[in-house]
């Protein structure tokens, strides 16, 4: 499953969601991404890995979409394992992603 837009690419394969590029859409333009996450959740995977090591920038609307449409929805799936792969080279990731732990118990956040 793929989603491509202006400056970004999102793929889903083997329970891994990978996001490349920069995401700075207006709030209403994140609908496609919300639908994409909905599709992923509908498969009720036992584990999901969100790989954002190559996501250079994400705006506040994007943060909200990941938090609400992916993490909170995944939290409703029983015994799901959530893992986020991050990059140390992006300050916004270092500042923001650790706060995602508040949204789900046992979430694993890995920085490389």
């Amino acid at each position: 499953m793929n989603l491509e837009g202006d400056g970004y690419t999102i793929t889903y394969k083997d329970n891994i969601i990978t996001i490349f590029g920069k995401l700075s859409l207006m709030l209403e333009d994140y609908e496609e991404l919300e639908d994409f996450f909905e599709e992923v959740i509908r498969t009720e995977p036992s584990e999901i890995t969100l790989d954002i090591r190559n996501l250079e920038y994400l705006n506040s609307s994007g943060i909200k979409t990941i938090c609400v449409s992916l993490i909170l929805e995944a939290d409703d799936i029983e015994d799901i394992q959530m893992k986020i792969l991050c990059s140390n080279q992006y300050t916004w990731q270092k500042e923001t992603i650790p706060t995602f732990e508040d949204l789900m118990d046992d979430m694993e956040i890995v920085f490389e």
Binding site: N59, S60, I63, K64, C67, V68, I71, L72, D75, D76, W92, E95, T96, T99, F100, D102, L103
Partner: protein, 548 residues
């Protein structure tokens, strides 16, 4: 409440809590991003070397960067209190600018004159766009200060004007040189005829007085032609090295004696040892012409004429703003006066030939043209500084070729005219000149044979080369020039003396190398040609004596 309902309620509670946490995450993130963007804006606006302001839609200042405060000369606090229309020299421009922004959404290159805190103004070009700043619809305006650009543009235009003027004067010089050449031929005939007529008259003749007046007028015409030739650099220059300070001192002495009592003159020579290459008489004339203008400018008022001679140098990397000058060492002769000054229009035309501000009959308008011509022919340049009501200064730059402690004064040769009986071959394509000159020469006792062109004269010479003691020939003749003809004759008889006569300037050909003894410029008097013949024949005799 059954278990399912409880489960739904718990799920909703969890979701609400999750959304609350999401809200915290997103607002925290937005706050940090906002702060970073503000910092970025402040760094950019504070670092950029261009004035930038953010105004409300009505023009009120909300933000200004450091460069804008610096250029307008306001502190940040006072700047923001200023009425926007007060920043425009013409307050209506403020309204025009805002309306244009409103209508077009952006403005590019709005030409305007802006006003600083101290009241001075500067030309600028405004570039503006609508932005949202601190929640308001605003205008971001970048101000491009055009002061330096305008200055450079003015300098460039001034140089262009000077260059055009130089080209114009060169063209005029070429034209004037041609006219002068023809006039010299005409004057030769006039002089010759008048002198011959004078010789035919008895001392008591009433006509002698009229002829004398005609000769005086012809002399004036000759002097004018000399001035025209000096202007167009087609006269014969002495081109010898001389200490310019001596000539300037002499000329200044003469000016002091000629200037009326209301005018004070001062001479300052800071360059006593500078040697220049050129004609001392012409440099004398330069100073006389400049001072004569100053004297005229100071008429009916107390005034001061300052003459300064100093040495100046321009390095190879120096920007020289005086057209025609290249890097090197020059003497700068400055003549300044505290007269009424000149406006831009007069300065632009000051060196034009025949341009004068004097009333009709009081000036020929050739003085400064001659100065320009002479200085240019000495490899230099002239510049002028003046403003109405302020002093006027002319600066003449002449290249320095050496420096020395003392130079010998040029020797004054006393001319002695003698009669002769030798046979002369006279060649000129102008039959009037041939007629007059043969009569003049015959009146001096010579036997004259004439021809109107080079080939005829050469053929005659070939037939009997030993018949002639001297050849006098015009330089410019159709079919065969005087120089070519003389060269051919010298191949036949190496010792034949040749005098070249010309109506214009002799080029720098090494005449003596090809055997030509002397050169005489038209118009010449009977005495002039008599002296030239004696000189040429005398040289021949010296050679013959050396051989024996």
């Amino acid at each position: 409440m059954d278990d399912k309902e409880k489960e739904i309620i718990n799920k909703l509670k969890r979701r609400i809590s999750g959304l609350e946490k999401t809200l915290q995450i997103v607002t925290g993130y937005s706050g940090r991003t906002e702060k970073n963007l503000r910092q970025l804006f402040e760094v950019i606006s504070g670092t950029m070397p261009v004035p930038m302001v953010i105004t409300s839609k009505t023009g009120g200042l909300i933000f200004s960067n450091e460069k804008a405060q610096e250029i307008f000369g306001f502190s940040e606090k006072n700047f923001h209190k200023t009425d926007p229309s007060d920043l425009y020299e013409d307050s209506r421009d403020c309204d025009r600018f805002l309306k244009m922004n409103e209508a077009q959404g952006e403005v590019k290159g709005f030409a305007v004159t802006l006003k600083k805190a101290d009241g001075s103004s500067f030309p600028a070009s405004l570039f503006s766009r609508h932005i949202l700043f601190e929640g308001q619809n605003c205008l971001l305006t970048v101000i491009y200060d055009l002061s330096e650009f305008r200055k450079e543009e003015e300098k460039r235009l001034a140089l262009e004007r000077q260059l055009r003027q130089t080209h114009k004067m060169e063209a005029l010089g070429t034209m004037a040189g041609g006219i002068a050449h023809d006039f010299n031929n005409v004057l030769t005939v006039i002089f010759g005829r008048l002198e011959l007529a004078m010789m035919m008259l008895s001392e008591e003749s009433k006509a002698k007085h009229h002829i004398n007046d005609a000769l005086t007028a012809a002399e004036r015409a000759r002097a004018m032609i000399m001035q025209i030739l000096a202007f167009c650099r087609k006269n014969e220059e002495e081109n010898s090295p001389f200490p310019i300070s001596t000539i300037i001192a002499e000329a200044a002495k003469m000016i002091r004696s000629l200037a009326p009592s209301n005018i004070e003159t001062s001479l300052r020579i800071n360059s006593k040892s500078s040697i220049v290459l050129g004609d001392p008489t012409q440099i004398h004339q330069v100073l006389m012409n400049l001072c004569s203008n100053s004297i005229y400018a100071l008429q009916n008022r107390e005034g001061l004429i300052e003459i300064i001679l100093e040495q100046v140098s321009f390095g190879p990397r120096e920007k020289i703003t005086i057209p025609g000058l290249s890097p090197g060492t020059y003497v700068r002769l400055t003549v300044s006066d505290n007269g009424p000054g000149m406006d831009k229009g007069i300065i632009e035309r000051a060196f034009d030939p025949f341009f004068t501000t004097k009333p009709a009959g009081e000036g020929t308008g050739m003085g400064l043209s001659v100065v320009h011509g002479i200085i240019q022919s000495h490899g230099g340049a002239v510049s002028v500084e003046s403003q109405p009501g302020k002093k006027t200064a002319f600066h003449c730059y002449i290249p320095v070729i050496a420096e020395t402690e003392g130079m010998t004064e040029p020797a004054i040769v006393q001319k002695t005219i003698q009669r002769g009986s030798e046979t002369i071959l006279f060649v000129d394509d102008e039959s009037d000149i041939v007629d007059i000159c043969s009569q003049m020469l015959e009146s001096l006792g010579y036997h004259v044979i004439t021809r109107n062109n080079g080939p005829d004269a050469l053929s005659l010479f070939k037939e009997n080369p030993n018949l002639f003691d001297l050849v006098i020939t015009d330089k410019s003749m159709p079919v065969m020039s005087g120089i070519t003809m003389a060269s051919e004759m010298l191949k036949i008889r190496l010792d034949i003396p040749v005098i070249l006569i010309t109506g214009d300037r002799m080029e720098d050909n090494p005449l003596s190398e090809i055997g030509i003894r002397d050169m005489l410029r038209k118009p010449f008097s009977r005495n002039d040609i008599g002296a030239a013949i004696q000189k040429a024949l005398h040289k021949k005799q010296e050679k013959e004596y050396d051989k024996s």
